[in-house]
């Protein structure tokens, strides 16, 4: 039942001066694991602390200090792997990636090059209803974050804060399956959504808790298909890596700029040099990082301080059994169980809280009506005040109560909107409010009939016109609604007006 089928989107084509080009993109996303303590030390991961206050001697690489792995971080990496339907490696190991930089006191980063904890998985990136890109995940490994260097506090010195040093990261590496800037951003959005559902990373891009390195190359139409058939990279162009992007918008801009830069070089008869580049959002361009070649000679070797990490299948099974419902499943369930459109399901599952809220409102009620109210009335109202669903003054139970009153015919849709506004601003039990303020709609046909008769009697000229042109019946309906303060059941009024005018 969850098997919705999708078509792949068309790749983005950029017209060069000479011919058409396509893009091939792969991403390495660094996601900070949502742990209290660091990957190998007991120092806090709290953001925004006093500089160098969340630092243990291990993080500062004092002589003789040994790393001890945080088991919770391992569990989060496994959870993430399972959430991406990936293979979990029961045996993984840590390696040292050696380089010198002031914010890396160890002189190496502990990472997992040769034996990552998570192997191949996938992410389904929805682009439009019925259209999605299946992006293969190559691997996920755990590694330490570096510290932070601040270059603008002093004219001659750089300032170093090691609070971030040693915080646990998951590096999630995709295959080059992404075919345009929009897809790349959508991939990051989807990955972030899954991580937030899993609770393994808070996805806060502003604080740098989720950031992406983007590999971009260009090729001629047809080349990519040859690569897909053979998995032979020689069919693809030389790639450049754009480092450390923490905004969806910049990711798109950088890819677009970089692709055009490469196309210009190639059409000019030149060749692209494989290198690392930085995106400058102010200038809207990428530029080469002037690091010397040797900076990338990382001389990886197995970390002698850490034994291989061995985990048990039973433990992995327990984590699997406790996975929450993930966005794809929730989305499919909303479509099949509540009959909402795929588009609405997307909106309702964008974050965990919205999904929970809708579930609670829709359970046992008209799903489409519930979707309509949650999206249009509630989200619309919240957005106006820049609130998130977590700040909603109307609880799911209250909104459900309003829908029940509509379903029972106690209030009309129009009155329901007034009621919603009252509940939103003043709170309270919807049924009680309707009772206390006399908002119940008049379904008593006798009363409605009397009101219709009165309007008809007072407006003989209109009656004559309406008999010629039945569309004018709407005018009578409006008058009756007005006379009853909007409380008459519109359906009943319509029927009675039509009957009386015909008679």
């Amino acid at each position: 039942m969850l098997d919705l089928s999708y078509e792949s989107p068309a790749p983005k084509v950029i017209a060069g001066a000479k011919h058409d080009w396509e893009l091939v993109i792969g991403l390495e996303v660094h996601a900070q694991i949502a742990s209290k303590a660091k990957l190998f030390s007991g120092a806090s991961t709290q953001f925004g602390a006093e500089p160098n206050s969340n630092v243990a001697f291990v993080d500062a690489a004092m002589p003789g200090m040994l790393p001890v792995i945080n088991e919770f971080c391992v569990e989060q990496a496994v959870r993430t792997g399972l959430g991406l339907k990936a293979q979990i490696n029961l045996r993984s190991a840590f390696d040292r990636k050696n380089y010198f930089y002031p914010d890396l006191p160890q002189g190496y980063q502990i990472s997992q090059l040769y034996h990552p904890i998570v192997g191949e998985g996938e992410v389904l990136v929805n682009m439009a209803p019925g259209i999605a890109r299946r992006v293969r995940i190559e691997r996920i490994h755990m590694e330490q974050d570096a510290g932070k260097s601040i270059h603008d506090m002093d004219p001659t010195m750089s300032f170093v804060d090691l609070n971030r040093t040693g915080v646990a990261l998951m590096e999630i590496v995709s295959r080059p399956d992404i075919r345009g800037p929009e897809e790349a951003a959508a991939y990051v959005v989807k990955l972030r959504q899954i991580l937030r559902y899993l609770g393994t990373c808070d996805g806060n891009m502003q604080n740098g808790n989720l950031r992406a390195d983007v590999n971009v190359s260009v090729c001629r139409p047809g080349d990519y298909e040859k690569y897909q058939e053979t998995q032979d990279f020689s069919h693809l162009g030389t790639r450049c890596e754009i480092k450390n992007m923490n905004s969806m918008r910049f990711i798109q801009q950088a890819i677009d700029y970089e692709a055009r830069r490469q196309i210009a070089i190639l059409e000019d008869g030149g060749s692209v040099v494989q290198e690392t580049r930085l995106y400058d959002p102010d200038k809207g361009e990428t530029r080469s990082m002037r690091s010397k070649e040797e900076a990338h000679d990382y001389r990886y070797f197995p970390c002698p301080d850490l034994l291989p990490l061995e985990i048990e299948q039973g433990w992995v099974d327990d984590i699997q059994a406790n996975l929450p419902e993930l966005p794809d499943e929730k989305r499919a369930r909303f479509v099949t169980e509540y009959g909402v459109t795929e588009y609405d399901a997307d909106v309702l599952t964008a974050d965990v809280e919205s999904g929970h809220y809708f579930d609670e409102v829709a359970k046992g009620r008209d799903g489409k009506l519930a979707a309509n109210w949650v999206i249009n009335e509630l989200f619309g109202r919240l957005k106006k005040e820049d609130h998130g669903i977590a700040d909603s003054p109307v609880s799911a139970a209250q909104l459900g109560g309003i829908l029940d009153l509509i379903a029972k015919g106690d209030i009309s849709g129009k009155i329901a909107k007034d009621l919603f506004e009252i509940v939103y601003t003043e709170g309270g039990d919807p049924a009680q409010i309707v009772e206390d303020r006399g908002m119940r709609q008049v379904t008593d046909t006798g009363a409605i009939e009397a009101a219709v008769d009165k309007i008809i009697a007072e407006n003989p000229a209109q009656v004559e016109k309406a008999k010629q042109n039945p569309k004018l019946a709407g005018w009578f309906v409006g008058q009756v609604m007005k006379a009853t303060g909007g409380k008459a059941n519109p359906k009943a009024v319509n029927e009675i007006v039509a009957a009386k005018l015909a008679g």
């Binding site: 007991g42 006093e50 160098n52 792995i69 010195m157 750089s158």
Partner: protein, 95 residues
């Protein structure tokens, strides 16, 4: 594989260890001796043998996710040649 003087220079630079030019030939020779020994080890057939990571059967030690350390800015910065406003101060690094 043989290490020449240029390679020795490069390795020293990567490790940020200063080696005077006249010491490079000796260093290169030492590297070659080490590599020679490793080549000798490589002659042993280890097909199907699991790499040994520990002489005693030990499991990687784990910690629980609790904040048990940190909160000692002064001690962290105590050995720094230069520290200002709680930061390590280092010669300007510009990428």
């Amino acid at each position: 594989m043989s290490i020449d003087i240029e390679t020795a220079r490069r390795v020293a630079k990567l490790a940020r260890i200063k080696v005077e030019d006249d010491h490079l030939p000796d260093l290169a020779q030492e590297f070659n001796n080490i590599l020679g020994f490793i080549e000798q080890l490589n002659e042993v057939d280890v097909e199907g043998v699991e790499p040994m990571t520990s002489v005693t059967p030990m499991r990687l030690k784990r910690r629980t996710d609790e904040v048990t350390d940190g909160g000692m800015q002064d001690r962290i910065l105590a050995n720094a040649p230069d520290a200002r406003e709680g930061f390590f101060a280092v010669p300007k690094v510009v990428e």
